[in-house]
């Protein structure tokens, strides 16, 4: 066993050294070579999350067809609602039967790292060729700092979505860059009768992303580096006090909001600011309703403001690609992922979704989708700037469980709505989280 580990280590360190020596700015590396002939008579089953925007699945399937034509390998793609992929993937890992490749979310791969095919070679190849993977990818998919247990697909970015006209009317020429002016803007918007609104119900996507940003932006965090729960901290309490003020500026009803609510309210003109993927803009652009179409020039996007922590603290839905060890065709599976990640396929796919999924590879920042419409640009760097779930600890069952149990969202909702004092809310979150991180 120890021998195996050492040999493994040597192999990986060699890979690391090679990577470190690679150029920092993207130059198509002539040495990035890939040789992995798929198994004979291979066939693949892929399970992925259902599309958020139509363009995604259309282009994804077009790429799959291309792969099938090129390699003669039939690929069956199944779609499931993204929240249902997690339990299915876990069961597949446990029982050793199921799709060969699963496109999962957040820390899925960290729940069963030993059930996944080592894809270090592929990650090294892609990293070398396309300027390297962003740091957050490593937290998720290279947990021991050596072995890659999955290939990053990107992240569905969550950004501030706002109406330019409303901001102007409230006296703001651009979206605030720090939390203090953000609060001022929210107050001004409320006074003008064009309030903002952020989900505080059990909205897995929208509520989790903005509530994590808020807590982090004041320096609060669920756990420290050693996975010790430290959510009940003065920083968190500051964040919660801020949330109380912020909540006063929201449109009524946000405590009940699930993921679709803010989209509906925004497109109906009832709110002027929220946090969301690029899907609101996408929906407006592709709408047949002239009233909604009118919104297009007025919608814009901005990064989350920076708080007292002094750095960007955005949280996004991370997307991965995992190959399971039980697959009979690991080489074909790797080849499939490589094919889909190559620029010829990935570029058009990212464009078809107008950047709903942002790239994990540095070189793809040059893709024209990010500049063809300046309103896409804020979504460009989501993977580059994102913080992984369970910051600043290790990912695994504890981080996944705490996220799924809405500990952070409930805490913010309790404090923001005044149902509990910031101190009480933080204490309760601490107690709930300690259960997951087993104290």
């Amino acid at each position: 066993m120890s021998q195996f580990k050492r040999r493994d280590f040597l192999k990986i360190s060699a890979g690391l050294a090679a990577e470190a020596a690679g150029p920092l700015i993207w130059v198509k590396d002539a040495h990035a070579q890939w040789n992995s002939a798929p198994e004979k008579d291979a066939r693949l089953r892929v399970l992925r999350w259902s599309r958020f925007v139509q363009g995604d699945i259309d282009q994804y399937m077009a790429n799959v067809k291309k792969f099938e034509a090129k390699y003669g390998i039939p690929v069956r793609v199944d779609n499931e609602s993204w929240e249902d992929v997690r339990p299915k993937a876990a069961v597949a890992a446990n029982t050793g039967a199921g799709p060969d490749i699963i496109l999962g979310t957040n820390d899925d791969a960290n729940l069963y790292p030993d059930k996944l095919v080592d894809v270090t070679d592929l990650a090294n190849y892609l990293g070398k060729k396309y300027g390297g993977f962003y740091a957050a990818c490593e937290a998720y998919l290279r947990p021991d700092g050596k072995r890659w247990i999955g290939i990053p697909l990107g992240a569905a970015g969550s950004m501030m979505v706002y109406r330019e006209s409303a901001l102007k009317a409230a006296g703001f020429t651009s979206f605030p860059k720090d939390t203090d002016s953000f609060l001022k803007m929210m107050k001004a918007l409320k006074d003008k009768g064009t309030p903002g609104g952020f989900a505080l119900g059990h909205a897995t996507g929208d509520a989790n992303t903005w509530c994590h940003w808020l807590v982090w932006s004041f320096g609060g965090k669920m756990v420290d580096k050693s996975n010790k729960v430290v959510i009940d901290s003065p920083e968190t309490i500051k964040a919660l006090e801020y949330s109380r003020e912020l909540y006063g500026t929201f449109v009524p009803g946000t405590l009940s909001w699930l993921d679709p609510n803010n989209n509906k309210a925004f497109l109906d003109g009832q709110i002027s600011v929220t946090n969301n993927g690029i899907s609101i803009y996408y929906a407006a652009k592709n709408s047949q309703d002239p009233k909604i179409k009118e919104l297009v020039p007025d919608i814009n996007h901005a990064e989350y403001p920076v708080g007292p922590a002094g750095v960007g603290t955005a949280f996004h839905l991370f997307l991965n690609q995992m190959i399971f060890k039980y697959t009979k065709y690991p080489k074909a599976a790797k080849e499939f992922i490589r094919f889909m990640m190559e620029e010829e396929q990935y570029g058009p796919w990212m464009q078809a979704g107008i950047g709903y999924v942002a790239h994990p590879l540095a070189a793809y920042a040059k893709n024209p989708i990010w500049t063809s419409d300046p309103k896409h640009t804020p979504y460009r760097d989501v993977v580059k700037n994102m913080r992984p779930a369970g910051y600043e600890g290790k990912l695994g069952y504890a981080s996944a469980g705490a996220l799924a149990d809405f500990i952070i969202v409930d805490m913010v909702a309790e404090a923001a709505s005044g149902a509990k004092s910031p101190k009480e809310a933080a204490e309760r979150a601490q107690k709930r989280a300690e259960r997951y991180y087993k104290v």
Binding site: A90, A203, V251, Y397, A404, R432
Partner: protein, 299 residues
Amino acid sequence: MKQLLENKNALGLLFMLPAGALLLVFLTYPLGLGTWLGFTDAKIGRAGEWVGLENFQFLIGDSVAQLSLFNTLFYTVVASVLKFGLGLWLALLLNEHLPFKSLIRAVVLLPFIVPTALSAIAFWWIYDSQFSVVSWALTRLGLIHQYIDFLGEPWLARLSVTAANIWRGVPFVAISLLAGLQTISPSLYEASSIDGATPWQQFWHVTLPMLTPIIAVVMTFSVLFTFTDFQLIYVLTRGGPLNATHLMATLSFQRGIPGGAIGEGAALAMLMVPFLLAAILFSYFGLQRRAWQQGGGDK
């Protein structure tokens, strides 16, 4: 072989075998597995180890689990009582001679026929904090000036989901009780009216006692369905706001499946069993007592 097939007992066993196997595979095994999981620290994707009562001990001290128990009891008691009252009332009305009787009966059944997920989505719109038709109508009438936050305020949310459950459950109670009403012999009413009984006395001394057996069955089912409700909550609130509408079933799912802690989720589901058993036992040993049915008390 031939002898065996002619043996009544052996043949009986043989015929029971398929049903027995089905029950064993699809009922006993999952229930047993669920019970077992409740005593382990199993995660989805990882077999667990026996931890004894740890999950239960934690859940008893867990404020969210306590709240979900309260919510479940509140939801079940309020919804069941109102469903019974409204259902019985509706059944009595439908039992009268009405024009278009069968059409009305069919219409009454509609809420029960519509798939719960679909009616829940309809309620989701009705209760929406921005688009609620109720709020819209009331503002238009000038009765309110701000939209009602049906699902955003903890107590209002509890009452709103309960109301949606009642809407869905009343037809089941009404139609079942109507079937029961129609089995009551008219001669009993004739006899009682000859004796000078008022309609109220007829209801109290003829209808209700005759209806008790069916009430027992219908209400047992109704309580079981309500106590274990999941779809309505999952579509409307996912347990929010501030966990005010989390039922034990939805919390068990949240912890067990998306949260991955299947052991804890199973334990939470197991905690529902004593309450369900109590409801069943009450119905069987209480409401089905002959003495009660005949209008008497315990001797």
